[in-house]
Each structure stands twice: as C-alpha cells, then as structure tokens.
C-alpha cells in the first residue's frame, strides 16, 4: 500500500501501530485523542488483535505493563490529564525494562486545562514524569506522515532499548488531516525477534520474573546504572533533528511538532523580507539534539525558541548552548497557536536586541 491516503493524525497513529505489529491496545476516552482508541477498536479485531477499553488510564497502563511483560507489542494513548494518571505505570514499566508505546496528544493544562493544542507536557515527557531515575525515549512528529512514521519507529526503538517510548503529539496533529503513505510492508508478528525474558510460561526453562523491586542497595544501583547506560546509548545512536538553512542564518528558530510548522511559515515570510532564518526542529526530545545546537551556537548566532508553553524545551536549548550565544523564548498557551507574523515580529526584536546587547546579555522575554 503506497497510495496517498487522507487521514487524521490520530488515525495514522492507529494504522501505523497495527502495521508495526501492535496487536493489543488498552485505553480510556479523553479528548483530543479519541480517534486512536476508536480506530483501534475497529481495526484490531480485523487482524486478530485485542482492543480493550480500560476502567481508567491507570488500569490501561498496567494492562500495557502486563502485555508488554508477556512479550507483546502493545500501545496505549491518552492526552495530558490521562498521561498524568499513567505516570505511576510508566515508572514501573521503565523500572521493569518493558518495551511499549505511549501516545500523548497534548492539551493545555495544568489540571483539566483545555482541549486545544499545547506543548506543556515537555518536562513530564522528557524528564521522566513519574517517580525514580528514568527516561522515556520521546518522539515529536510534526505532520500526519510523521505521526505514522514515528509510531512505527517507536515500536522498533522500544524493543531495541526495552524501554517505554512516547510519541508526543498535540491536539492539532491528532485532529488534522494530511496525505499519508505507508510505504513499508506490514510487520509480520510471528517473525518479530523472540523476547526470551518475557513471561510466556516457563516451559523448558527457569521462570522469568518481570519486576522493578530491588531491596538490596547494590541491586537497585546496578539497575540505575544499567538504565543510565541505556540512555547514554540512546544519545549516541538515536538523536534525530531536522536542520534547515542554519549555515548562514542571522537567527535560528528552535521548535518541535506543530509549532515547528508555524516557524517554517514564519521563516518563509522572513526570507522574502531579506532575513536569513534557520530552523532546528528536534524530532527526538529525549535524547535531545544538544550537540547540533552546541555546534551551531559556536558561531554566536542567536536562538529563538518557540513553544506552546511558557518555556520548557528552552531549558534544554540553554543547557546545550551553554552561554555560547543568546537564547530567547516566545510562547503562547491556552490553546493559542502563534501566527507566523507574531514569530516574525519576535525574530526582528531578537535581531534588534542583538545589535544593541553583547553576546549572552540579551534579556529574556
């Protein structure tokens, strides 16, 4: 199937998961991601899979734990308040080193917040989110095609690292329709590599135990260090970012997901006005493309970080840049998506500040 299909981002996630060999989905209704469970409830029985609507997000993520521990490719999806409920389970999944895919179609918060697009769950997604010293690998698609591609990759990466992988979208990406092509042949579930650690029944082998409890200090530290080594390996092997026109840029925009698309429109407007604008679009939010940014920062070019939050990813940009060039921030919340003109205006003020202030002394906001 390589024809172009007009699909909602949420539906593309569902189809991509099934084609990646996901045969189990556990979820709970919440706007704006309902098309994912709806799609799975329709499609999974057609391929011999199981869709189960859980009694809560907490139950759903624990069903994911059980199924992942039993060796299956499994997924759940939710939106911000529901993801908060899943955090307990995600911590256990990370601790027990189980592969699974969690989709968060972010909406505004805190609390019940709103249902419009937001990027205010960046900290939660990239810094662990639940208790304990752990990370998820976080993919941030920016189009319906990437929603499909990132979902497919998420299953591979989850298995590669035995780690939960989050696909971090937002309400806009989930609701919008764009053409999508599924070019790779579907994964054959029976041909997936075996998971010898899974609880499939101890036939002809010693029992397997899926567990995150380590009461001996030595044992727990050993786990923590093993996890850290895994996260380091992610940083060396699986950082992804799109870098556009940064070589001779006067200013570099840093944005991910939906926000990066508005930045692309703003950059086009700016170029017609004679401004040279580069864009760095992180696709993996953890591991973060720090080296790409620190390399670019050596030229002293100013960065403008744009987010649908009051400033979360900007902290990782600042850590990467480490004072080598100025970093400014612009964000909108409440469900507002900045217009390209708003971003253009901010870029102009960044450049004006730059002509007046020495490197690194640009006031924030």
């Amino acid at each position: 199937m390589s024809e172009r299909l007009l699909m909602k981002g949420n539906e593309a996630v569902g189809e991509a998961a099934i084609r990646a060999g996901c045969r189990l989905f556990f979820g709970y209704p919440i706007t704006p991601q309902n098309e994912i469970p709806e799609y799975m409830s329709r499609r999974l029985p057609e391929v011999g899979g199981v869709f189960l609507q859980a009694e809560s997000e907490i139950a759903a993520i624990n069903m994911v734990y059980g199924a992942a521990g039993a060796g299956a490719r499994v997924m759940t999806s939710s939106s911000s308040p529901g993801i908060s409920l899943k955090m307990e389970g995600i911590s256990y999944i990370a601790g027990a080193e189980l592969p699974c895919v969690i989709v968060n179609m972010v909406r505004g918060g805190p609390g019940l917040g709103g249902i419009q697009p937001a990027q205010s769950d960046y900290f939660q997604a990239t810094k662990g989110g639940g208790h304990g010293d752990y990370r998820m690998l976080v993919l941030a698609p920016a189009s319906v095609q990437e929603m499909a591609d990132c979902t497919a990759d998420a299953f591979e990466l989850a298995d590669k690292y035995r780690n939960p992988v989050m696909v971090l979208g937002d309400g806009a990406l989930g609701q919008m329709m764009e053409p999508v092509t599924f070019s790779k042949p579907p994964v054959s579930v029976s041909e997936l590599p075996p998971k010898p650690w899974a609880t499939t029944g101890a036939r002809g082998r010693a029992p397997n135990i899926v567990n995150s409890l380590h009461l001996e200090n030595e044992e727990l530290e050993k786990l923590n260090l093993r996890l850290e080594a895994k996260y380091r390996r992610m940083k060396s092997e699986d950082v992804r970012a799109e870098v556009i026109d940064c070589d001779d840029a006067d200013v570099i925009l840093v944005a991910y997901g939906t926000m990066s698309r508005v930045c692309r429109s703003a950059a086009n407007m700016a170029r017609s006005a004679g401004l040279r604008v580069g864009i760095v679009r992180p696709i993996t939010l953890f591991p973060f493309p720090s080296e790409i940014l620190s390399e670019l920062a050596k030229k002293g070019v100013p960065f403008l970080v744009v987010e649908l939050s009051l400033g979360q990813m900007v902290e990782d940009v600042k850590l990467a840049v480490n004072g080598a060039s100025p970093v400014q921030f612009y964000g909108r919340t409440g469900g507002f998506l900045p217009t390209p003109k708003e971003i253009l205006a901010r870029m102009e003020s960044v450049l004006k500040d730059r002509s007046q202030a020495p490197c690194g002394a640009v006031p924030e906001r």
Binding site: V50, L52, Y65, G66, A70, T199, G201, A202, I209
Partner: protein, 248 residues
Amino acid sequence: MTRVFGRPAALADVPTHYCPGCTHGIIHRLVAEAIDEAGVLDRAVGVAPVGCSVLAYNYFNCDMQQAAHGRAPAVATGIKRARPECVVFSYQGDGDLASIGTAEIIHAAARGERITVIFVNNAIYGMTGGQMAPTTLVGQKTTTSPRGRDAALAGYPVRMAELLAALESPAYIARVSVHNPANINRAKRAIQKAFEVQIKDQGFGFVEVLSSCPTNWGLAPIEALKWVEEHMIPYYPLGEFKTVEGAG
C-alpha cells in the same frame, strides 16, 4: 518407599520472609498444589502485589510479574489478553485489592477476565506495620485506629466476595479460611475451582482467604487463628457466593 508428602513443584525451594505463624505460607502452598494438580505449571503466570506478599515472585516456581499497588488485576488482564493460552493468577492482600485496587478488581471481575484472583484478607496492612485496612473490623485496634476502628469515622469493613458476587460476569466467587485443617481442605477445593473456571474458559475466579497476622494483631499464632474464627468469620461468612454450572 512411597513418598506421601513433598514440596509442590509450583513452590520454589527457598525460605520465605513471612513472620512466624503467618498463614501466607499455607495459602501459597494451596495455590501451588492447585497449579500442580491442574498440570499447568509450564503455562502459569502469576502476578505479585504490593504488601506482605510482594516477594511472591520469588516463591512461586512459574513466570511472575510484580505489579504496582492494587493494579494486579489490570496487569493480569494484559498478560491474559496477550497470552490467552497462559493460566494467569494474581495474589493480593486486602490493602492492595480492597482499597487502592478496588477499581481494578471490580472491572476485571465485571469484564469476566479469564484470570484467577487469590485475595488474602487479614484485616490489616501488614507490610507497612499494621495500619487500618478496608477490611479492619469495627473496634479493631491498628496503628492508625489506635482507639479501634470507629464506624462513624471510617465506615464499615468491605466484604469483597459479596460485592463481586453481585456482578453478572464472575464464574466463581468464594470465601474460605485457613484457621484449621478442615477449613484448609475446603480452601484448597475453592482455589482449585477458581483455577478450573479459568482453564475451562468459564470466566473469572475469585477466592477470598481469611488469614491471620499474629505480628500486627499482637497475638500468638494459635491465638490469632482463634481470633479469625471468633471475630472474622462472624463478619465475613464463609461459603461459595457464586458458581457457574459445571464449575470445578
């Protein structure tokens, strides 16, 4: 020489951490015997809870998963849905199942999940040091009900077997006790049935086992067994509350 008694194959040959006089050991053995006798050890997957039996994954000689507090029925659901050929059981205490995990147990039962749930009710939080449980009896003193459970403040203890028996889906619901040999035999039969309804694809099986906690009750082991009989059974009547045609 004929061997008439031995360790069940489903029980690992390791010392347990349970307190002297605790009846978890008896209940572990009954579960292990049921697994052995059903001939499903090589396809059994157990789920350990949070609480005194958190380390159950070391004691059963089959594949095990350790679950977050109260979530064992959801974890068991995930395992069973991924591996329908496996025989899946959870082993949970009263804080785990009847307090923090009420949503998970009620909905697993309501869905008629093909799993077996062993619910050990000793009317107290043991692992954390003897706090009030949802099953603590009225008047019973614990570290968080030092003047005895006050029904006006904390309500009345929850009867989980009766509560779940009100649902349409479950195939087998029973309450048993292990305070003397006759009751241990009845408990064994009930646990076997709770596995059989799963193996025969008849539905959800649940056995509540009244258990003693000498340490946190502050009683000698024999006194504690007497306390089960004299105080718990009157409030938690024994028997089968639900059974399907041809169960067990």
